[in-house]
């Protein structure tokens, strides 16, 4: 009895003590550091290390505070970066790979380059370091799979690049619009669940004379293919079969290309040449009714200081297609920007632990909640409820990101990704501006894909296919 009382008292005393400690700044930092303690312990023996990275400064700037914290604890820091935009990093990384250069320790790139760079012998598998540091990428759904290859992890994600469907709440909830829509189509104006629903609404609200365009989706080189792949996946399509025979020219492909091309009816006439830098200002200015776009845009357009349309959007799951009569939702999760480590670097262990540190929930939530440098987006499970992150994205926005992350679908995850993407870019672009008919686009894509497969090697790509198929989301829709 006495023993029991004493024990209870001790527990109570301990609790009071911890609460008192927590109230001090020392206590806060001590408790907050808990998550990365094992990483620090694993990295501490390495000693002072100055790391060099290839990274876009827009991603690097919000990483600086956690990097400084890691440096204080371990002596390891990223001291310089080669500042390149993410779309141009594959070229730099491949040049480093071909020369087997040890110069850069970390390369921050889209995970779709992992198969090519692993094949070229450039990337270090990170599983051993993750194991030693007791670190696990705690991503929503299967999102962490998008940085693996052949069953190994090659990238630590820092950016939850996922498509979110967004539409103009002010127009969508307007009673007059609701009535007009119902009168016209005989059904209520509801959140679009299918691509057809989405298109019907885009067409209904498309009114260029009043400055409103139905769609803000991209169709230019380097961007348009992302939408096409999302459509293709959402009808159960896949670019290849297990023997690496191209299968874009299929029923799913026909539906995907039809969706891709019909957007023209409700798009900006400039869409064949507009990328993100041209489209984002129009979306934020409220010139668009609906689109699927990267979640990072939410932080910008919900920031009253930067956007005229803060509070005027509804966010949710991207519309879906169907497979075997059942709805299928696939959100484009590309590029999954992650930290990879150069296998040839003499500092690769330090680089790997730094990557793990930046991928902890603690570091990541700090990075992604930065509203000014909004390039890194939420991806870990805990971030979905972290007040700082929720505030940056709005509760509706973060809920939409969480839903879409559960059905995030990859870029073409094969060695030679850039070649396959170029094939899509060229043929989809020609189709969109009318240089090719839709059936010619699909046929041409398959023909061109076959040439790339032949050149890289069917046997090699068949192995890659296993990873590609494995990282596709398992869920047909978010739970």
């Amino acid at each position: 009895m006495t023993g029991q009382s004493l024990h209870r008292r001790r527990v109570l005393q301990g609790g009071i003590g911890l609460a008192a400690l927590g109230a001090t700044s020392f206590g806060r930092s001590a408790l907050a550091a808990e998550e990365g303690d094992t990483i620090i312990a694993a990295a501490k023996g390495i000693g002072k290390t100055e790391l060099k990275a290839i990274m876009w400064s827009n991603y690097f700037v919000p990483m600086k505070p956690p990097i400084e914290e890691f440096e204080k604890a371990t002596g390891i820091a990223i001291t310089s970066i080669k500042d390149l935009s993410t779309p141009t990093i594959p070229q730099a990384a491949m040049a480093e790979a071909l020369t087997r250069s040890p110069d850069f320790d970390i390369v921050h790139l889209g995970s779709e380059m992992i198969p090519s760079l692993v094949s070229a012998g450039y990337l270090e598998p990170l599983d051993e370091y993750m194991h030693k540091a007791n670190y696990k990428m705690d991503a929503v759904g299967d999102y962490a799979n998008l940085a693996t290859y052949g069953g190994k992890t090659y990238g630590i994600i820092t950016d939850g690049n996922i498509f979110v469907h967004q539409l103009r709440k002010d127009l969508f909830e307007d009673a007059d619009n609701k009535k007009k829509f119902e009168d016209k189509f005989g059904k209520p104006l509801a959140y679009p669940k299918s691509w057809d629903d989405d298109f019907q609404q885009m067409k209904f609200f498309h009114n260029p004379e009043k400055g409103i365009y139905g769609s803000g989706n991209l169709r230019s080189r380097g961007f348009g293919y992302v939408w096409f792949l999302m459509y293709l996946y959402s009808f159960g399509g896949f670019p290849f079969d297990a023997d690496m025979k191209p299968t874009v020219n299929s029923e799913a492909g026909k539906k995907a290309i039809a969706l891709y091309l019909r957007d023209k009816e409700v798009a900006f006439p400039d869409s064949p040449s507009w990328g993100t830098s041209q489209m984002i200002p129009h979306i934020a200015a409220g010139d668009v009714y609906s689109c699927q776009y990267w979640g990072g845009l939410i932080k910008l357009q919900e920031n009253p200081a930067k956007s005229k349309t803060a509070g005027k959007w509804t966010y949710g799951l991207v519309p879906g297609g169907e497979r075997d009569g059942k709805p299928l939702y696939r959100a484009a999760g590309m590029p999954v920007v992650c930290l990879t480590v150069n296998r040839n670097s003499p500092r690769k262990a330090a680089a790997a632990y730094m990557a793990c540190w930046l991928g902890t929930e603690k570091s990541s939530s700090q990075i992604v909640s930065d509203r000014v440098n909004s390039f890194n987006d939420a991806w870990t499970r805990k971030e979905m409820t972290d007040p700082r992150v929720v505030q940056a994205y709005t509760p509706g926005g973060i809920k939409a990101i969480q839903a879409n992350l559960q059905v995030s679908s990859p870029n073409i995850y094969l060695t030679g990704n850039q070649e396959f993407v170029d094939v899509l870019d060229k043929n989809l672009g020609q189709g969109y501006i009318g240089q090719l008919k839709s059936d010619e686009v699909l046929k041409q894509i398959d023909d061109d894909f076959a040439k790339v497969v032949k050149r890289i090697g069917t046997a090699k790509l068949k192995k890659d296919y296993e990873t590609y198929a494995a990282i596709m989301p398992k869920a047909t829709q978010p739970s």
Partner: protein, 329 residues
């Protein structure tokens, strides 16, 4: 003696010993000056050209093996370039782009040079103003162009204001216009180049023929057409050739603005070779494409040199004829 007589009969004076040794010295001096440069150029170029040749005959899949392990495939890669319609279209687009840019730059450059080549107060200011576009980096022109040429951008606004109609030309998104747009931007960028060459040509024209024509009562237009223009022919040819060669390899404006799009509307040789080599990492195909392009350009250069020599000869004849006539008189 017989030779000297034959020379004298042909109206020529046999070169003296002093002349011969001078011409030999000049020739020797030329080689002394040129040889180090040529050696440096060769030592820099030869490895690159050889490596490129190696890649053109060996299929190297960059992800899977080292370059020295690439498979020998004979002429297969060249064959695939020649049968690739995308390459053919890229050649045609490059010719259209380079041709348009060359003519545009020349016409504008010549016009500007003709306007200011006679000394006047403030000439230096105009000169400085006219060469500003050439000092602007092409990539900056591309990004500025993106803003200026937007459907709702300043250019369409100005055109609308001038015409009194609402003009909304899709300068960058209409595949029928996009190539013209980048050509116009290139013209803006490089007109000063033609301007400088033509200004130098006009300024160095001998005054006597013009004055003689004026005394004979020829109009300014006739003097320009029948005296100045023929005398400027070698300079014009040089301006055209240099601009054309440069425009054939143009890259930053097109890439910065459209990356070869919309569709493939602006996919010129430079863009396509870049995509093949650095986006697709198909180094072997890119090397073969570059080789074919290089041979094509060498052909153009040789043709240009031939034309330039012919122009020089005809100009020399034009100058020597009156002198001979004078001497005979």
């Amino acid at each position: 003696m017989a030779e000297a007589l034959a020379g004298a009969a042909a109206g020529k004076v046999a070169p003296g010993r002093l002349d011969v040794s001078r011409s030999q010295a000049v020739r020797r001096f030329k080689w002394v000056i040129l040889l180090p440069l040529m050696l440096m150029l060769l030592s820099l170029l030869t490895p690159v050209l050889l490596l490129q040749l190696y890649f053109s005959f060996h299929q190297w899949t960059v992800y899977l093996s080292s370059w020295w392990q690439a498979d020998f495939v004979g002429f297969d890669i060249f064959q695939s370039v020649f049968t690739d319609p995308r390459f053919g279209w890229a050649v045609l687009r490059s010719l259209a782009f380079a041709g348009g840019s060359t003519i545009g730059c020349f016409v504008l450059g010549f016009l500007l040079a003709y306007l200011i080549y006679r000394p006047f107060r403030g000439q230096a200011l105009y000169y400085a103003l006219f060469i500003v576009p050439m000092l602007t980096a092409p990539i900056v022109i591309a990004y500025t162009g993106q803003m200026l040429l937007d459907r709702n951008g300043p250019l369409n606004d100005i055109l609308s204001w001038l015409s009194g109609h609402d003009i909304r030309v899709l300068w960058l998104s209409d595949p029928d216009i996009a190539l013209l747009t980048v050509t116009l931007l290139d013209i803006w960028n490089w007109t000063p180049f033609s301007f400088i060459i033509m200004l130098a040509g006009l300024s160095s024209l001998p005054k006597e023929p013009v004055e003689a024509a004026q005394i004979l009562g020829a109009s300014a237009w006739r003097i320009f057409l029948e005296v100045q223009l023929p005398l400027l022919r070698p300079v014009i040819l040089l301006a055209l050739v240099l601009r054309f060669l440069d425009a054939m390899g143009s890259f930053p404006i097109i890439w910065g603005l459209l990356q070869g799009g919309p569709g493939t509307a602006t996919e010129t040789l430079g863009i396509y070779i870049y995509i093949t080599t650095w986006q697709d990492f198909n180094v072997s195909l890119g090397a073969a494409q570059s080789y074919i392009t290089m041979v094509m350009m060498v052909g153009i250069v040789l043709l240009a040199i031939r034309l330039l020599r012919r122009e020089k000869r005809s100009l020399d004849t034009m100058y020597t004829k009156p002198r001979d006539a004078e001497e005979t008189a």
